[in-house]
C-alpha cells in the first residue's frame, strides 16, 4: 500500500513540477510580448478628434496595440505606415467582419474602401451605421500605397498561349470599361452571379471600385484600363522588399534582387489593346480565372464581360472561380488548376520569391483601396 501511495505522490509531484515549469515558461513568454502592447499611455478622449493628425492617431493606436489587419499578405501597407511613424510593425489579427472595430477591440481597423468601409458607414443590411462618425487614413495619401487587384498567369502559360492571353485581356478590359461606365448595372450583374453580400452593398462596392480602377495613387484620372504604371509598381516592389518577411533564406535573397521585369510584362496588354479585337488562332479557348475573394463587385469587370458576351466575342469560354478564406490564388494558377488569377501585387511578389514564376499581365486597380478606419469623438 505504501508503495502505491508513493507512486501516486510521484505522479502528483511530476504533474506539479511540469505545470510550475510551464507556468514559468508562460511568464517569460508573456512579458516581452505584452510590453510593447501596453507601454505608452496616450490619447485624451476615448476616440479621435476630426482635427487629429494621421501621425498622432497611428502613434496612439499603435502604442495601445490596437491596430488591426487581416494579415495573410494584406498587412504590408499597414506595416509600412507604422514604420513611417516609427512604431513597431505588429498588429492585431482582424476577423473578416468589423465586429472588432465596433466593440473597440481594434481602434484603427483595416478596411477596403469598397467593402469594409461601406459596412462601417452605411446602414443597409449588415452595416454598422457609423455614417460620418468615422475618419480614415488613406494609404495613397500617406505614400505607402501598394497596388492591389491585377490579372496574372504563369510566364510559361503566357509564352505558350500569347493569343489567348491577349484575347482574355482585351475582353476583360472591355468588361471593366463597361462596368465603370455603368456601375449600377455591373452591381446587378454581379449580384445575379451569386453574391456574398446584399444588392445595396454590391452597388456601393461598384461605385467605389470604379474610383480605384479610374484613379491613380496621386489622384489623377486614368483612362487606359489595366495600365501598369511603373512608378506605382516600383513603389509596391520597394515596400514589398522592406516588409515581406520571408524565413526561407533562398526566397528572401530572391526577393531582394527582384526587379519589375520579374513580375510583370506590359507587352500582352499593349498588343491586346492595339489589336482591335482580332487575335488569330487562340491556343486555348476554354480558360478559367481564379478570383481573390467571393463574388462581389470587386471583380465586376469579369462578370460584366461574361454576362455581356465579351469573352464569347473573342472566342473564349471563360469560367470564373470565386475565392474566399485561405484560397491561394497564386498556388491555383501556378499548379495549373486555373489559367488566370486576380491577386494583389504584393502576393505575386511573395509567390515569385518563394519559387513560382508568375507574371502580371494587367494592373486593374490603379491605386490602393486600403484605408485605416477610426471612430471620431
Amino acid at each position: 500500500m505504501k508503495k502505491r501511495i508513493a507512486k501516486l505522490l510521484a505522479v502528483i509531484m511530476i504533474i506539479a513540477m511540469v505545470s510550475t515549469s510551464l507556468a514559468a515558461c508562460g511568464k517569460s513568454a508573456d512579458t516581452p510580448a505584452s510590453t510593447p502592447a501596453a507601454s505608452t499611455p496616450g490619447s485624451t478622449g476615448k476616440y479621435y478628434d476630426k482635427s487629429t493628425s494621421a501621425e498622432s492617431i497611428v502613434k496612439d493606436a499603435a502604442s495601445k496595440g490596437k491596430v488591426g489587419n487581416w494579415g495573410l499578405g494584406n498587412e504590408y501597407e499597414v506595416q509600412a505606415l507604422l514604420a513611417k511613424y516609427g512604431q513597431p510593425i505588429t498588429f492585431l489579427s482582424q476577423a473578416f467582419d468589423m465586429d472588432g472595430f465596433d466593440n473597440d477591440t481594434i481602434l484603427l481597423a483595416s478596411a477596403m474602401t469598397y467593402n469594409e468601409l461601406g459596412l462601417v458607414k452605411n446602414s443597409y443590411e449588415g452595416g454598422y451605421k457609423y455614417g460620418d462618425k468615422v475618419g480614415i487614413i488613406d494609404m495613397n495619401d500617406e505614400g505607402v500605397a501598394m497596388l492591389e487587384d491585377n490579372i496574372f498567369c504563369t510566364r510559361e502559360f503566357a509564352e505558350k498561349n500569347p493569343n489567348t492571353v491577349k484575347a482574355f485581356l482585351y475582353a476583360s478590359m472591355k468588361g471593366w470599361e463597361d462596368a465603370c461606365n455603368n456601375p449600377e448595372e455591373a452591381a446587378k450583374i454581379v449580384f445575379e452571379y451569386g453574391s456574398s453580400v446584399s444588392s445595396e452593398h454590391q452597388a456601393y462596392m461598384a461605385s467605389e471600385v470604379k474610383k480605384l480602377v479610374e484613379t491613380d495613387t496621386s489622384g489623377a484620372s486614368v483612362k487606359d484600363y489595366g495600365n501598369m504604371d511603373d512608378k506605382a509598381l516600383q513603389q509596391t516592389l520597394d515596400l514589398a522588399k522592406k516588409y515581406i518577411q520571408l524565413s526561407d533564406p533562398a526566397a528572401a535573397s530572391k526577393l531582394q534582387s527582384m526587379t519589375l521585369d520579374d513580375i510583370r510584362d506590359v507587352s500582352y496588354l499593349k498588343e491586346a489593346m492595339a489589336s482591335g479585337g482580332k487575335f488569330g488562332d487562340l491556343e486555348k479557348t476554354s480558360v478559367s480565372i481564379q478570383l481573390k475573394w467571393l463574388p462581389q463587385a470587386q471583380f465586376m469587370g469579369y462578370y460584366v464581360a461574361l454576362k455581356k458576351g465579351y469573352y464569347k466575342d473573342v472566342g473564349l469560354d471563360v469560367t470564373i472561380i470565386p475565392g474566399g478564406g485561405d484560397i491561394g490564388e497564386t498556388t491555383a494558377v501556378y499548379t495549373g488548376q486555373v489559367d488566370f488569377g486576380v491577386t494583389w501585387v504584393s502576393n505575386l511578389i511573395a509567390a515569385n520569391a518563394g519559387g513560382m514564376d508568375l507574371l502580371e499581365i494587367a494592373q486593374v486597380y490603379q491605386r490602393s483601396g486600403l484605408v485605416l478606419v477610426y471612430k471620431l469623438n
Binding site: A37, S247, D326, N347, A350
Partner: protein
C-alpha cells in the same frame, strides 16, 4: 499478473512480495526474448524513413508523386530554414506548447473531476458521460472563433486573451476523453474487489481512495494517449483563428497563403516533432509510473 495485482491490493504483505518477484522474473524472461524483436521493430521503420529521405532529396520521390521541388521542397532546404530561424521557431513553438500543455492539464484535471462526479452519482453519471462524449464531435473549427469572442473581455492584452481562448479550445477537447476514461477507471473494477472491500466494511471514501483511484491510473494514461496528440492538433488549429498572430499552426497557414511552401514545410516538421516528443514523454512517464502495474 492478473492475480498479482489483486493480491497486492488486498492480500497480506508476504503474498504481495511473492507476487512482485514472480512478475519481475516474467519480465526478465520476456525482455531477453524481446530484445531482438525490439531492435528489428525500430530498425525497419528507421531504414524506411532514411530510404524515403534519400528518395526525397534525390528528387526520385517527386517523379513518383508527379510533383515539383516547389510544392514539395527538398529536405535540405527545409532543414536549412529551421536552422536559420531558430529563435523565431522557438518563440512559436513555445506559444503552441504552452497552449497545448496548459489545455491538456486543465482539461485532464477537469475531466478527472467530472469522472469523479459521474461516479459519485451513478444514476445519471453514465448517461451524463455518454452525453459528454458527444462533445468530442464538436469541431475545433467551430468552437475556436466562438471562444475568441467569449474571451474578448477577459484581458486587455490580446496576447494573453488569445492564449486563453486557444487554451480553452484545447481544454474542451481534452476534458471529454479524460472524463470518459476516468469514469471507466472508477467503475470497471476487478471482479469481486468491490465485494471484498465491502466485506471489510470499508467506507465509500476508503473504497474510492484505495480501490477506485489506483484502479483509474492506467485509464488516465489511456485517456492521455488520446488527448496528447489531440491537444497538439487543437492547439495548431485554434491558432488559425486566434487574434494574436503566433504559433506553429499559424505560421503554417501564413506561409501557405503566401506561397512559401518551404517555410510551411519547416513548420510542419516542427509541429510533427512537438507531437512525437510529447507522445514520447507520455510513453516514458507511463512506463515509469505504471512499471509492473499494467495488468493487461
Amino acid at each position: 499478473m492478473e492475480n498479482g495485482y489483486l493480491n497486492t491490493e488486498a492480500g497480506p504483505l508476504k503474498i504481495n512480495a511473492a507476487g512482485e518477484v514472480s512478475t519481475k522474473k516474467a519480465r526478465a524472461r520476456k525482455k531477453a526474448g524481446l530484445n531482438k524483436d525490439a531492435v528489428m521493430t525500430v530498425l525497419y521503420p528507421v531504414l524506411f524513413g532514411i530510404l524515403v529521405l534519400v528518395l526525397w532529396q534525390t528528387q526520385v520521390l517527386h517523379k513518383i508523386l508527379g510533383t515539383d521541388t516547389f510544392t514539395l521542397p527538398l529536405p535540405g532546404r527545409i532543414i536549412n530554414i529551421i536552422f536559420e530561424n531558430v529563435p523565431a521557431i522557438l518563440k512559436n513553438v513555445q506559444a503552441t506548447v504552452i497552449v497545448a500543455v496548459g489545455g491538456l492539464l486543465l482539461g485532464s484535471v477537469l475531466g478527472y473531476f467530472l469522472g469523479i462526479v459521474a461516479m459519485a452519482f451513478p444514476k445519471w453519471g453514465s448517461g451524463g458521460i455518454s452525453i459528454a462524449s458527444a462533445f468530442t464531435a464538436v469541431p475545433i473549427v467551430a468552437i475556436a472563433p466562438i471562444l475568441n469572442n467569449l474571451t474578448k473581455d477577459l484581458s486587455d492584452d490580446p496576447h494573453i486573451r488569445s492564449m486563453l481562448a486557444k487554451t480553452l479550445v484545447v481544454m474542451i477537447t481534452c476534458t471529454v476523453s479524460m472524463s470518459i476514461n476516468a469514469y471507466r477507471g472508477f467503475t470497471e473494477l476487478k471482479p469481486f474487489s468491490l465485494d471484498l472491500m465491502k466485506s471489510y466494511a470499508a467506507s465509500k471514501t476508503t473504497i474510492f481512495l484505495k480501490l477506485r483511484v489506483p484502479n483509474s491510473l492506467p485509464y488516465i494514461f489511456t485517456a492521455l494517449r488520446v488527448s496528447v496528440p489531440a491537444s497538439i492538433i487543437s492547439a495548431l488549429v485554434s491558432e488559425y483563428f486566434a487574434e494574436f498572430i503566433i504559433g506553429v499552426g499559424r505560421q503554417i497557414r501564413e506561409s501557405i497563403v503566401l506561397a512559401q511552401y518551404a517555410t510551411a514545410w519547416a513548420y510542419i516538421l516542427v509541429a510533427c516533432a512537438i507531437g512525437i516528443l510529447m507522445y514520447a514523454i507520455l510513453l516514458i512517464a507511463e512506463g515509469v509510473i505504471l512499471k509492473g502495474r499494467r495488468h493487461r
